[in-house]
């Protein structure tokens, strides 16, 4: 484990210009995530948590402030394939089967690899997410949870150090969400990736993360970084642990306070 933080943001501000008026969508945000950490960003809709993730993932340059991922600027980290991204929608190609969808980014990124090598790695990734038997199926034939697992396999295929996930389970039903939480913890424990997860589910944030950053809007900022003391590996019983109840109660109160102040 590295002593210096894997992801570091300091004084990050983002301004959007809408119809000639400048709006501050992110105000003086700082956070740090250790290597192999699991951090969630939680907050009400429009609090800028997705914007913050975009900044960390190198998809959006901050207006001011410093961001580094694995010691370099996010855009550089993306170029070095250190960052894998998973969106709320699986964003798969409907005309390609699961295997070819997983292979898509590799085909572009590793033009030097042979087709067999790429296919081999893609099927390893499908096995990792438990979909080896769905390799030939197209997205339309897969459930929402399975599609999102293909999307995660596609991100893992490039072997990034960091997985940035923007409400990856937001479009799924409650039962599938809990299954996907267990699944994601399993992936995290096996691959030792650093994970940053944007979510609006208190239970999801508390169950999965080592630390939850609670955000509030107007101005969008982080109001507290709450460590979750639940021991890993976490499972069904973790939901019943006193530490889980304490954490979710605290998160609920923080979100309400942030909301009241904003209103």
């Amino acid at each position: 484990m590295n002593a210096s933080p894997h992801i570091l943001a300091h004084g990050v501000c983002v301004d959007f210009t809408v119809a000639g008026r400048i709006t501050r969508v992110l105000n003086d945000v700082s956070l740090s995530v250790p290597k192999g950490g699991f951090v969630s960003l939680i907050g009400p809709s429009g609090c800028g948590k997705s914007t913050l993730l975009k900044v960390l993932a190198g998809l959006l340059p901050p207006t001011s402030g410093n961001v580094s991922v694995a010691g370099v600027a996010p855009i550089e980290a993306v170029r070095q394939r250190r960052i894998g991204i998973v969106f709320q929608e699986a964003t798969l190609l409907p005309w390609k089967n699961a295997l070819d969808n997983v292979a898509l980014l590799m085909e572009v990124a590793h033009a030097g690899l042979s087709n067999d090598e790429i296919r081999g790695r893609a099927s390893d990734m499908l096995r990792l997410v438990g979909l080896e038997r769905a390799a030939e199926k197209r997205p339309a034939q897969l459930s929402g949870g399975m599609r999102q697992r293909v999307s995660i396999a596609r991100a893992l295929a490039l072997d990034p150090e960091v997985l940035m996930m923007d409400e990856p389970f937001g479009a799924l039903d409650a039962i599938t969400r809990e299954e996907m939480s267990d699944f994601l913890l399993g992936i995290w424990e096996r691959t030792k990736k650093t994970i940053v997860l944007v979510t609006h589910s208190i239970d999801e944030a508390a169950f999965l993360s080592r630390e939850v950053h609670v955000m509030a809007s107007n101005p969008a900022r982080i109001i507290e970084a709450l460590p979750i003391g639940l021991p890993y590996p976490r499972n069904e019983e973790s939901y019943a642990a006193p530490e889980f109840a304490r954490a979710t109660a605290r998160l609920r109160r923080l979100l309400k306070e942030g909301h009241r102040k904003a209103a």
Partner: protein
């Protein structure tokens, strides 16, 4: 594969399997086309009855029976005319498809040039192109060429616009992912935008094929020595109204054959889009 799909489970199994057994498929097709067939027969029967009861003169509105008689008696002339028109339609349609797809690709790929080209394409679309037919006759003579040119100017627009929409309605997050691994614009175009645009292209081609038939007929009206449009015009000046209708029947059948040919290609090769009935 192409049956009416009501519930998602059925659609999944339709994609999964090669399709239902042939007997089932035939029965499906029967039940699909039965209502249209019954309506068609009904209209023909009423038409026949009206023209007999009111004793309409044949040069005003011929009865279906006399149209059929002409269809049989003049089948060689009609067949030759249909062959000429079909050549115009097919070559004009193919060129429309190529021109429309090329315009869409240029606009999508070269943003600046696209911004210059797009308004001109829209401007040109608002020229009543049927009015250009006499010009094309003047420039290109009486044979195939002026009809093909007329078809292209009429039919390329829906192809271009539909394909352009398909090239541009690509998930921005997916584009961001592709960029993040260093994909070039050409790679994104080839791997994502073009396949994504194919169902839209097919929708444009279906509009284009019907416009191509109209273009061929109008082109022949403006000046021709053969073809179904030429025959319609010639027969109407001779008061041979039954022959006019017989030629119309052949035009319609031709248009329908082309349309379903395209739909067959679509179902066969672009099988990731759920099909409406």
């Amino acid at each position: 594969m192409s049956a009416v799909i009501d519930d998602p489970a059925a659609s999944v199994s339709a994609i999964n399997d090669a399709g239902p057994a042939p007997g089932v498929r035939a029965r499906d097709a029967m039940s699909r086309f039965m209502p249209a067939f019954v309506l068609f027969v009904g209209i023909v029967v009423v038409w026949e009855a009206v023209s007999r009861i009111f004793k309409l003169p044949e040069f005003v509105l011929p009865a279906p029976s006399s149209i059929v008689r002409v269809l049989v008696a003049r089948q060689r002339d009609l067949g030759y005319a249909a062959w000429i028109t079909a050549q115009e339609v097919v070559s004009g349609f193919l060129l429309s498809g190529i021109a429309g797809a090329a315009v869409a690709l240029i606009i999508a790929r070269f943003a600046t040039f696209g911004r210059a080209l797009y308004p001109l394409v829209v401007l040109f679309q608002n020229v009543p192109k049927v009015a250009l037919a006499p010009l094309f006759i003047l420039w290109f003579g009486f044979d195939l060429a002026p009809k093909v040119v007329l078809i292209v100017v009429i039919a390329f627009f829906p192809v271009a616009i539909n394909m352009l929409v398909g090239l541009q309605t690509v998930d921005t997050n997916l584009i961001a992912l592709m960029r993040s691994v260093g994909a070039t614009r050409n790679e994104i175009l080839w791997r994502i935008q073009i396949p994504n645009s194919l169902p839209y292209l097919m929708a444009g081609l279906k509009v284009a094929i019907t416009l191509a038939v109209i273009g061929a007929i109008v082109g022949e009206f403006a000046g021709a020595q053969a073809g179904l449009g030429y025959m319609i015009q010639f027969a109407s000046t001779q008061m041979q109204t039954s022959l006019v209708f017989a030629a119309l029947v052949e035009v319609s059948v031709l248009g329908m054959l082309f349309y379903y040919a395209i739909e067959w290609i679509e179902r066969r090769y672009i099988d990731w889009m759920p099909h409406a009935a």
